[in-house]
Amino acid sequence: MARITMREAISQAMWEEMERDPNVFILGEEVGIWGGSYAVTKGFYDHFGAERVRDTPIAETAIVGAAIGSAMTGLRPIAELMTINFAFSAMDQIVNEAAKLHYMFGGQFMLPLVIRAVSGGGRQLGATHSQTPDVVFAHFPGLKVISPGTPADAKGLLKAAIRSNDPVLFIEHATLYQVRGEVPEGEYVLPIGKSCIQRKGKDVTIVTYSKGLDISMKAAEELSKEGIEAEIVDLRTLRPLDTNPVIESFKKTNRAVIVEEGWKSYGVGAEVTSRIYEQAFNYADAPVIRVAQKEVPLPYNRALEQSALPQPADVVAAVREVL
């Protein structure tokens, strides 16, 4: 296995799928000649050509609409949205069209499309370019929403997303692109909608995904120094949400902290906490605690921004509280 970055893993998944299936193509702003604003599609244009790596106007509705329409004709488009913040410009096409068309017409239309979007704060881009609104999209039945926390999961889940016959929103965290990890070469496809244990432990269950995994792993290392062993469940897919490993882990540890980068209200933490209480209330030895972003539009100033984002220290403090 090679040790590669998240960026390379995502790129590799798309490259392999495009080599495998001529119906797979990429469209989006600056995906072609530029090589992708986050350099994920670097080299694709020269190798696959302008028909399969399509630069678009800055027009998110047209990008997502073109992906939907071409998917309905049998293609497998990967639409790249430069950031998830721009998905709001295409909200109707994502929510009212992609998520609905298969069901609403009695199963007549197939929508094998992937929308890749970059999410997350922490890069001093100001309030409009720094959101982590992943749960907004996970709210809608009909969409699948994936957000990996490791390079291997990114590769395996993106390949699964491209092969899926359903519309998938694939969310990549902007500050995880440089994270390295072991990634299987060649054919490696993971099931969509399966959570997994990223770290074994016995004292407390930390439930998280995406950037939250990075934060939680750091917190777990700190806690380990004190002899506290956290078990970390990575959701990986927000819809359909698999909380079975969460419940199993909670029944063992009887304590849980939920970590996400998005805002706390109505978030992943709220959803997962409810499910824990619904399914394992009698196992609780302490209230479940949520660690999330402070409820403000993210400010530009570095210190202010970092103070609004969840940090490993916040997770450590939350774990101490539930123990």
Partner: protein, 320 residues
């Protein structure tokens, strides 16, 4: 167009008119729910337009879609059953009046968000172009949809990528109750095509043969690879926007005047004058259409409701 084809168009127009009239009655009787938008007055538009397509040409439209569904060849039984929410409806009772579609007949819906079908149409045309097929995507929308962003993004993309789309604006003068002159910077909608370097034409939508002839040429020109074009088809809806429309925005005299240009009456005169039909022959077609609607009502009334245990079916193509 030969005699038989002309008479078939006449049948389609009359069938749509009778379907809509009976649909209104069924709606008033509470047998059709939700929103329903009647096509009465606009029958010549989709009838002429869709008669001009080849089987490989895709059709996509907005929510005023009953007529389009009939013209695309969906049996009236399945159209009416869908309006009544039955399991035998073309969308299995999941879509209703605004969401009719039949992929086997290359009819891609029935889209209820104003303008939302335009970017999808661009995508379908991209699909055909990418695969090297020679189909043309015919995308219909009202003049009201030309004021929303979807329209501009889709037209621009279609031109930049030279996509095989025929953009068809059905200008019935009112977007709900707001007259085109009050809502659009230019009331002659075809002028908007100029901004995208696109060829365009305006045609009388009360004259089915004019629509057919113009559409035929336009579709074949698009098929030749020259890129997208726009047709603006001038028409008028004789009924309200939807079933709950008090029609405060227009005078009864205006409606009466347009009813004097009834596309069905106009076509009757044409057919008789050109010796393609006799008054009696047309009466026979009228009778057949009435009977077919009556049978469709009986079929729909007798059809089962969707089983409640199908509620979760097909949320995803791949069930978890």
């Amino acid at each position: 167009m030969n005699k038989q084809s002309s008479l078939d168009l006449y049948y389609q127009m009359v069938l749509i008119r009778r379907l809509e009239e009976k649909g209104a009655e069924l709606y008033q009787a509470g047998k059709i729910g939700g929103f329903m938008h009647l096509y009465i007055g606009q029958e010549a538009v989709s009838t002429g337009l869709i008669a001009a397509r080849l089987p490989q040409d895709r059709v996509i439209t907005a929510y005023r879609d009953h007529g389009v569904a009939i013209n695309c060849g969906i049996p009236v039984n399945q159209v009416l059953a869908e309006l009544m929410g039955k399991a035998t409806g073309i969308s299995k009772g999941r879509g209703g009046s605004m969401h009719l579609a039949d992929v086997s007949r290359n009819f891609w819906g029935g889209h209820a968000i104003v303008g939302a079908q335009l970017p999808i149409a661009a995508g379908m045309a991209l699909g055909d172009k990418y695969a090297g097929r020679d189909g043309v995507t015919i995308c219909m929308f009202g003049e009201g949809a030309t004021n929303i962003g979807f329209f501009h993004e889709a037209l621009n993309l279609s031109k930049v990528w030279t996509l095989p789309v025929l953009w068809v604006c059905e200008n019935n003068i009112y977007g709900m109750g707001t007259k085109v002159t009050r809502a659009s910077a230019v009331s002659e909608i075809q002028q908007k095509a100029e901004g995208y370097g696109m060829a365009h034409e305006r045609v009388d939508g009360m004259n089915v043969m004019a629509v057919y002839e113009t559409a035929k040429k336009a579709i074949e020109t698009v098929r030749s690879g020259s890129g997208p074009r726009m047709l603006e088809i001038m028409t008028y809806r004789f009924r309200g926007h939807s079933m709950g429309d008090p029609e405060r925005y227009r005078k009864h005299e205006e409606v009466m005047e347009w009813e004097g240009h009834d596309p069905i009456g106009f076509f009757q005169t044409y057919l008789i004058k050109n010796k393609k039909a006799t008054a009696r022959g047309l009466e026979e077609i009228d009778t057949r259409a009435r009977e077919d609607i009556q049978k469709a009502i009986e079929f729909s009334e007798a059809s089962p409701e969707p089983a409640l245990d199908t509620l979760f079916d097909q949320v995803y193509a791949e069930e978890e």
